[in-house]
Amino acid sequence: MIPTANPQPPFITLDSVTKRWSNGATVLDGLSLQAERGEFISLIGPSGCGKSTLLRLLAGLSGLSSGSVKLDGMLPESAREIMSFIFQDATLLPWRTVRSNVELGLELEGKTTESQRHKTSTELLQWVGLSDVADLHPRQLSGGMRMRVSIARALATRPKILLMDEPFGALDEMTRDFLNEEVLRLRENDQFTTFFVTHSVAEAVFLSTRILVLRAKPGQIAREIPVPFSYPRTAALRSAPEFLRLVGEVSAALRSVQVPSNPSNPGHP
């Protein structure tokens, strides 16, 4: 027999993942998903459908009720070393300078010397265009700059997996577009696998290799939409007709999960 199956298991596997809170509410119900190395997967769906919960499960910050999660063959807790989490707010330590915020992950890992860290942070700050403000404190930066520090900090440990929970949700559209392009540029360099939660359809289409539209109650994947555009992608893509068509398709999918599935008999479970 000719071996047709992929000899390597997928990089990331979620197998019928279920999450129930202690109060009995089920937020994710039997969710399965696989991701290959280097994929950029966007999660989009109505508020409260469990996107943040899903990321926290992947990060091992919250436990599963049933099912399994494997990241590069490891359980989430063990895979932390190859993961970075970027939160919605920049979560910088206000008492540290921009530079030492970027170095935080490396410092906590404890595998590098101070001069190595300095070198890494210098490089990264240059990458995200913040060399000039390396010695300032977070409160002296704009929201967009803070987010870039947060991204630089996440990349400093050279993660293979990047989890981002609405990182640009609080920013204005121009800054957001700019940072989107920056993320793609950084991705060219590092080839991390990304899970990206967003409420912006255009952002999801612009960044992703694949978009997962989630539905609430129970939280499951309603639609899976591949994004065919090749990388590197430039700002010009945003006005291309194929791009706009795909944005329309994803928006329609999102609308279809947002209407209650059974409005005629709301009393039914």
Partner: protein
């Protein structure tokens, strides 16, 4: 500098008005000196007895300062203990509130009875009265670290001690300073109160509190005024020192410090 002068002008104006009113009251209403001495009489007694005043000042400063420093140490250690779990807080917090609600004049005689009427006991009174604001504020700071920041440290597999050193303690620092500022003034109240009770068996001239009882019993009201002013000066000094220290520690990054910058 110009800004500083303008800011200082208003309190100074108030000072001048109050002193003038005080002086005029004494003159026109012919108030006896043992009820309300004239401002000039108070100034005279300060100059005449500056040596004894200075001695009393030093003794009380030592007692209040010692108790204050002890309460910082003790308060932070207790706050660290409280921050460990909600169960610990629930079990012990009511008793620390007791520290705050039982009047110091009720505790002071007990402490002096148990530990003798020396300088150390007075220090202990100041310690007890300073403790609660420091415990309460520091605990609050330690437990209010945002979830995301903790998750960030968890994602980096940071140990508990690292989390404490690099996250919780720096995060709690502005809160600690709130407690320190409240306790700075209170420490002097504690020391003076302690001395009031210690005075009966103390030998020779003690601190400000002791001298206050003495001046009061002798109807030396002008001296009493001088002592009260010295005590407030001491409290003010503590407060000023701690505020300066706070500014030094937090000015670079904390919002409250930023606001005074922009002023």
């Amino acid at each position: 500098m110009k800004k500083f002068l303008i800011q200082a002008a208003w309190p100074l104006a108030v000072f001048v008005v109050v002193i003038t009113a005080w002086h005029l009251c004494c003159r026109w209403l012919a108030i006896p000196a043992y009820v309300l001495p004239q401002p000039s009489a108070v100034v005279r007694v300060v100059i005449e007895r500056h040596q004894t005043l200075w001695n009393a000042f030093c003794i009380t400063a030592l007692e209040a300062g010692g108790g204050y420093l002890l309460s910082i140490l003790g308060g932070v250690v207790i706050a660290l203990f409280f921050a460990q779990s909600p169960l610990i807080r629930r079990s012990f917090y009511p008793y620390t509130i007791l520290l705050q609600t039982v009047p110091i004049v009720a505790i002071a005689p007990l402490i002096l009875m148990w530990f003798g009427s020396g300088l150390r006991s007075v220090m202990l009174v100041a310690f007890v009265i300073c403790l609660f604001p420091i415990i309460a504020n520091t605990t609050q700071g330690l437990i209010s670290v945002p979830r995301n920041l903790i998750d960030l440290f968890v994602m980096s597999n940071a140990s508990r001690s690292r989390q404490l050193l690099k996250l919780r303690l720096p995060y709690a620092l502005p809160h600690l300073f709130v407690g320190l500022r409240i306790s700075a003034g209170i420490s002097v109240i504690g020391a003076v109160t302690g001395e009031l009770f210690a005075s009966s068996n103390a030998v020779g001239e003690g601190g400000l509190g002791y001298s206050i009882t003495y001046a009061n019993s002798q109807l030396q009201t002008d001296y009493l005024f001088a002592l009260v002013l010295t005590a407030s000066l001491l409290g003010f000094l503590f407060f000023f020192t701690i505020t300066a220290l706070e500014w030094l520690c937090l000015r670079k990054w904390h919002e409250s410090a930023m606001k005074t910058d922009a002023d």
